[in-house]
Amino acid sequence: MTEYVGMAMPRYDGIGQVKGQTKFVDDFVLPGMLYAKALRSPVHKGLIRSVDFSAAKKVPGVVGFVTADDIPGNRLFGACGDQQVLAESYTAYKGEDIALVVAVDEDTCMEALEKVKLDIEEQEPVFDMFEAAKPGAPLVRPDLKSNMWEFMPGVTTRVIYLGDVDKGLAEADYIVEGRYTTGEQDHAAMEPMVSVAYFDDAERLVIHTHSQCLQFQLGSLASIFDLPLSRIRYIGGVVGGGFGGKNHIHADHFAGLAALKFRRPVKYRLSRREDLLYSTKRGVFILEYKTGVKKDGRLTANYIKLWHDAGAYGGFSPYGVEKCSMFASGPYHIPNMRVEGQCVFTNKAGSSSMRGFTIMNGQFPMEMQMTKVAEAVGIDQWELRFINAWRDGDMGVSRYVVRGAGALEAMTGAAKLAGIELPDHLLAMSSRGR
């Protein structure tokens, strides 16, 4: 068996891919299949007064509409269970789904959508997370007490610490401050969000999904449809690129609800434009550092304040804050650390998971900070990183003991590839001990 280690093996599904035979979700075109498109909020924040489908209903080819009243089960979903499947009385971001129009093809859906009369009262939105965090700021959603995510009831700051950061800062010869921002990012998978759903001959709801993680979503879907798991066949496996964006339900709930109501196969898909505007994103992170360091380059303390823009709904953002907090001090031994993280709602499409979740949103600023610390102390950047790199037995901020450390060896390899000659005393260091 070990003879295969290190060998490049052809992919088991590769022949199908190069022959164009691999069935992506949008490749399923079923007899009698209907199409659905979403009626979306035209405003960033609004109160829905009424939705009038009477003119839209008359468009030839329209089969019907799906609203929140058609949902048999749970009307909320998402990793935090706070997102509306279909908006009932309020919308919290521009493009939020209010209803589905279902018709024989997408052109008919679009024509009907133009004839839906939506009466919505525009309200004052809040986009900046520091504005949103202020007491008295307009609430992003009426179901919130404040715009801050509560990690536990009443607790809006997630604190993770090791040692005593005040003591560590007092021991330092230099204290270096820095503030770093990472922006929003879309996954931009080649395959836009799409789902196909229908009932099979055993009365099971079949959903063809491009989900990256079926087990994240199956339970949530079952609760929306109010169906036992045994009555849902959730078929995945072929994903036209995900990058974290397909951890969140974007289409399966709508194809499923329309199939439930009309008992016909339904395809629901986002156009590229809808996908870019309304799917979940990597959200903004802002990190403020206060790092203590001795003259010889040993780090004594790292105090981080962290803010994350969740958009209108939680998604994986609170988890992202915790994950970012754990890794925002990089692979470095710092005896005293404290991270205070906050997750703030704003009237934007929800942010959620993306590649590496949120680890690099912490590691990138930490490396910027290390460069700044090296300049402040007046020592070489490589030297600073080598002195402080994790050795086996060091402890991270969430009190895990580091085993199998490899930062020194990785940096040595990187320097070699970059043609940088490191001094002998650095090359003599090992991750096996300090």
Binding site: I15, G20, V29, A188, M190, E191, P192, V239
Partner: protein, 157 residues
């Protein structure tokens, strides 16, 4: 208004009823069940819907279906009609020139058009020619290698 569109698809004649606004991609995917060409952006940006029209690569999402009347359309399904893989298909498979595979049908058609007109392209020429086909997974390096391997005669029909 509906019309009958007749053209040659992967070597066989087809007749299909279309409207004036339908694109070649709509007709191939939704009416003829030819789902090799993918709908990535529907806007001519990503290249995954690329097919050959009389040997020339075109974006099927930007091609009005009626304009292909009487012409030859080749999709990825037509690359290996007798079951044997085309050299480019073999090379893409063995070089791992894709991850999710959503861009592959368009990549293969652009690569075929390149080698049909320039059998020995340089690395720079390959990169330039293939620049209209996006791969979000980032398999560009392997795509270039696979095309180079075919050009070098490493894969035979």
């Amino acid at each position: 208004m509906k019309q009958i569109l007749s053209f040659t698809l992967n070597g066989a004649p087809v007749d299909v009823i279309v409207t004036a606004t339908e694109t070649l991609l709509d007709v191939l995917r939704e009416k003829l069940g030819v789902t090799g060409p993918k709908r990535g952006c529907d806007n001519g940006d990503c290249g995954t819907c690329t097919v050959l029209l009389d040997g020339e690569p075109v974006r099927s999402c930007l091609t009005i279906a009626l304009t292909v009347a009487g012409r030859q359309v080749l999709t990825v399904e037509g690359l290996s009609p007798d079951g044997d893989l085309h050299p480019l298909q073999k090379a893409f498979h063995e070089h791992g020139a894709f991850q999710c595979g959503f861009c592959t049908p368009g990549m293969l058609m652009s690569a075929k058009a390149l080698l049909d007109t320039n059998p020995n392209p340089s690395r720079v020429e390959i990169r330039e020619y293939m620049s209209g086909n996006l791969c979000r997974c980032g398999s560009y390096e392997e795509v270039v290698e696979a095309i180079q391997a075919v050009a070098a005669g490493e894969y035979k029909e």
